[in-house]
Every structure is written in structure tokens, then in C-alpha cells.
């Protein structure tokens, strides 16, 4: 079942494309990681699909309901989102903000349910019950923002940089909350700069740059297609490179930071055999797989390991 589909979605500001012809697809049950540099168009796209801004051209649909139809308001009620930063009344306490969100979304929750929700996102109710949100740290506000999204039992949650301002424990708490909700059937669209965190939770990845979607790939495919590299730390780096090149069966050999790197599906046993035959001293041989970060950098053509 399709949760979100965009078709050639574009947005221009003063004639400049912030988002250009983006066609993406999120299925029910996906945790869709949305990756891109600052100003790539991630937040603009999220604004378009949450109704905060109107597209210049193209279209989108939520649960197969077109974004420009009257039915969109009803399906938006199944959607929760934090766009850029969690927004709340700073002069109110956490529970008052949750009550306000209940009114906005038209759901009814008891105080006990709201207190439980506060605990679920890793906030200590006793510690914060009298504290105005304006005095919360960024991380605490971010957690409360997630609680506010959860108030309405949304089954599609959009989180724009949810890890911003969180400490390591916060990362873990948010990650676990996302995975727990995902197990309960919630679909996610998560934009983040923290690629290592996305890698731990995403089932699908969309890479956006300069407003254009460069790639949409499942994590399974990404791992399947990931470039492997073998890093060799040896006394005589030049001799190792020469020996491997002479062998002739390795695709790409690079010297980097005093190490020899062999890319592709090179046979590790064969490499070791060649080095032993040549009597070269080797300190370590490591096989590394391309991470989401490596893939992203390679896709953007910014050098890195490629």
C-alpha cells in the first residue's frame, strides 16, 4: 500500500528550484531515510507534503489521496510531523503542550496517558512537570516534539532531523522509539544528516541534492550493491601495490594514507597469497564494506573512498 507518492514535484522560490521534479515513493511499513546536504531541498519537500507550502508544479498523494483534493485533510490526520524543529508553546509545560496538541488533532487523552507518553520518549515527568518548555534543552524539546506527534496515533510520521540536539543516550532512545513504533505498523520518513543513525534503522533511502532526487534505493539493494574494499597496511606500500597490479586480477588499487586499498570483489585469499609469495611484510588486512556515508559521498561525486 502506498503511503506517499510524489510525481515530478517541484517548488521554486524567486525562480530558483528548491525542489525539482522529485518522484519518490514510500510504501506502508517503510522507514524511508531522506539524505542530502544543507539546502538540498529535504525540508522544502517535507513542507510540500505536510501542506505547509504549495508545490509550484507536480503532484503528490498521501494514501493515494491527491494532495490537491478535498480528501487530503482527512488523511493528514493520519500523519504526524516535526518539520525542522519541534514547535510548541514555550510558556506552557510539557503536559499542557500535549493537551494543546490533543485539541489541535481532536483526540482525547487522559493525564495518565499523556504522562506515559512523556515517559515513552525518555523524559522524566516528575523532573519536568512544573518546568516551562522554554526552559527545556534542545534535546528535551525534541523528545517532547516526538511525544506531540505520537499523541494522535499517526500511522505515517515525518521527522526532519530528529537527532538534532540529542546526546548519545537521546540517539538511542529516539532510535528505539522509532523501531518500536515501526514494529507497531508506523511508516516513517526521516531526514537526517547523521547517516550512521539512518543506516541503523532505514529500510529505504532517498538521496537528494540541489533539489533533485539522485537515487531511491532499498537498504537491501544498497548493501547488495555496496562496494567492498580491502585495506592493507604494509611496510612497503609501493611494493604491495606493484605486486597486486602485476597479478592482474584486481580491478582498482589505490594508495591512501600510507595504506593500499583494493576495491571491488577482490579475492582476499588471493591477495594474501600474492603478498606471501612476494615475501612482503604485512601488518594488517581488513575487509570493509561501503557504508551509507560512503555511498552518499560517492553518489554526490565528492571524492571520499571512491
Amino acid at each position: 500500500m502506498s503511503v506517499l507518492t510524489t510525481t515530478n514535484l517541484s517548488k521554486t522560490y524567486k525562480g530558483r528550484f528548491a525542489v525539482k521534479d522529485v518522484s519518490m515513493h514510500i510504501e506502508k511499513g517503510d522507514i524511508y531515510g531522506f539524505v542530502g546536504e544543507n539546502g538540498a531541498g529535504k525540508t522544502t519537500l517535507i513542507r510540500l507534503i505536510t501542506g505547509l507550502a504549495a508545490p509550484t508544479s507536480g503532484s503528490y498523494s498521501l494514501y493515494d489521496v491527491p494532495g490537491d483534493s478535498a480528501g487530503i485533510y482527512a488523511v493528514r490526520k493520519r500523519t504526524g510531523a516535526i518539520v525542522e524543529t519541534a514547535t510548541m508553546c514555550r510558556s506552557m509545560t510539557a503536559i499542557e503542550n500535549l493537551k494543546l496538541q490533543c485539541n489541535i488533532t481532536g483526540v482525547s487523552r487522559t493525564d495518565e496517558e499523556l504522562i506515559a507518553l512523556i515517559g515513552r520518549v525518555g523524559l522524566d515527568y516528575e523532573e519536568i512537570k512544573k518546568k516551562k518548555v522554554g526552559k527545556f534543552s534542545l534535546g528535551m524539546r525534541q523528545r517532547l516534539g516526538i511525544a506531540m506527534v505520537l499523541v494522535s496515533d499517526a500511522d505515517f510520521i515525518i521527522l526532519d532531523e530528529p537527532m538534532n540536539g540529542l546526546d548519545p543516550q537521546g540517539f538511542i532512545d529516539v532510535r528505539e522509539t522509532i523501531l518500536k513504533l515501526h514494529r507497531e505498523g508506523v511508516t516513517f520518513l526521516i531526514s537526517s544528516h547523521i547517516l550512521s543513525e539512518l543506516e541503523k534503522i532505514c529500510s529505504k533511502l532517498g538521496v537528494i541534492s540541489h533539489g533533485e532526487l539522485l537515487e531511491e534505493i532499498s537498504m537491501a539493494d544498497l548493501h547488495r550493491n555496496a562496494r567492498r574494499r580491502i585495506v592493507i597496511d604494509a611496510d612497503d606500500e609501493a611494493a604491495v601495490t606493484a605486486a597486486l597490479r602485476a597479478e592482474g586480477s584486481f580491478d582498482e588499487i589505490v594508495n591512501e594514507d600510507g595504506k593500499v586499498i583494493v576495491f571491488g570483489d577482490a579475492d582476499l585469499n588471493r591477495i594474501i597469497q600474492v603478498l606471501v609469495e612476494k615475501g612482503l611484510t604485512v601488518h594488517s588486512v581488513n575487509t570493509l564494506e561501503e557504508t551509507i556515508e560512503d555511498h552518499y559521498i560517492r553518489l554526490l561525486g565528492k571524492g571520499g573512498i571512491a
Partner: protein, 273 residues
Amino acid sequence: MKNLIKADIYRVLKSRLSLIALILALAFPVLIVFLYVGITMISGVMQDYPGGTLFSANTIIGSAFSMTNNIGMVIPAFAGILACLDYTNGTLRNKVIAGNRRAHIYFSHLIVSVLFSVIIITVYAAVTTGLSLIFFPFEWNNSTSLGLEIFYFVMNGIMTFTFAASFSTMLAMITRSIAPTIVFTIVFSIALPTITSIVSMVDYESFKYAAYFIPTFGSNFFNLNGTDIFTLFNQTTDASRGLIFAESMLSFLFFSAVNTLIGLSVFRKRDLT
């Protein structure tokens, strides 16, 4: 929209501004009435009768619903700030994301602004009236019915602040910023009655027609003093007063609708950041 109104009322009730507005609505009448009492006592005319001939309760009560009096300027500005805070806190975004129509969001703001304004000005007017009647005499020598005149006066006051709320809501939705909303609201609150007064002073005959283009023109006709105005326009009967009251109400509704249409059309098309 019911949920949005509930949310906005909750937000306004939790705001310190509401408490401040209520305190001012209670404090200003005390200050003003006692200021009049003080002036009267200093001038020595209270020896025979409290209130003497210097002031009457009519004068004090007559300005209770004025946009240019103390609370009259504060209320529209506060209503504008409360609407702006929804923008600046970002809670307005939450409403859009939650699937609420922009028109509903706007009307919820408008309704709550009107409620806030009318409640505060009514509290102010009630306290002012009560205190004035304790210390000063109220006289009614006109040919028209006092009951009707009070009804016109109160309705006119309520509509004045309904119009003011529609104006400050429009400003808040257009500017999205507290400072310009306050400045423009206060300037407007002062400018509108001032223009009305100037026009009426320059030429009463022209004022008759010009008044229809001024949203608060009814304020000049329903102030419980009224003798001059009554005579001037030959509105010395309940029927003639009723007619101008109806025109005044239509004027308020028309200009409030204009404010709402402008504000709503801007808000509906606006990209929210």
C-alpha cells in the same frame, strides 16, 4: 473547527497576556473613576452631592467602549499578539500538519480574538459603569427610550471590538510578527476615531455621508450622552435611532468581513516556514 477553537481558547487561557488584560480591565476603571472623584473633590463641588456638576456618570460610562481609551487600545493589540504567538511558537504549523483547513484555522483565530476582546471590554465596561454609578449621577433627559439606548450602546461597543479583533487578526496573519501588529493596531485604534472626530468637527453635513466609510462611525452616535448628535441629525425618536443603529451594525459587519477576506486570502496562499 470546534477542536481548533478549543485549542485556541486553551492557548489563550494559558497565556499570561489574558491574565494581564483581565487585571487591566479591573484596574483601569478603579483608577479612572477615582481620578474623576479626586478631581471633583479638589474642585470642591462634591460638598452638596457626590459627582456635583463637574462630571456625570454618563460621561464616564459613555467612553467605556471607546477604542481610544486606555483598555480600548490594549485589547486589539493583545488580541493581535495572541494570534501572532501561534505563528512565532510554530503551533500554527502543527494545526496545518494535523490536517486542519486554513480557513478553519483563520476563523478559529478570529472567533477566539473576538471572544477575548468582547469579554475583556465587557468586564471593563461593567466595572466602569458600576463604579461610576456609585460616585456620580446618571441623567437621561432625551426623548428616546433609555433601555433601547443602552442596548444600542452595548451592541455598538461589542461590534467596535469585534471589528478591532478582525483587524488585529488580519494584521497578525499578514505580518506574522508581533511588533508590526502592535504598532499598526494602536495607530489604527487612534487614527480611526480621530479621523471621525476631525471630519465631524469640520463639517457635520459632510460627516453624515463620510461616516459611512468609517468602520466605527456608530461610536459617534451611541455614547449615552448623545443630545447634540440626536438633535443634529434629527434622531430624536426611537425609530430614527433604530435606523442608524442598523446602519452602524451593517457597517461593522461589512468592514469586519473585508478584514477577514483580506486576511484569509493572504493566509490561504502563504507558505508557512
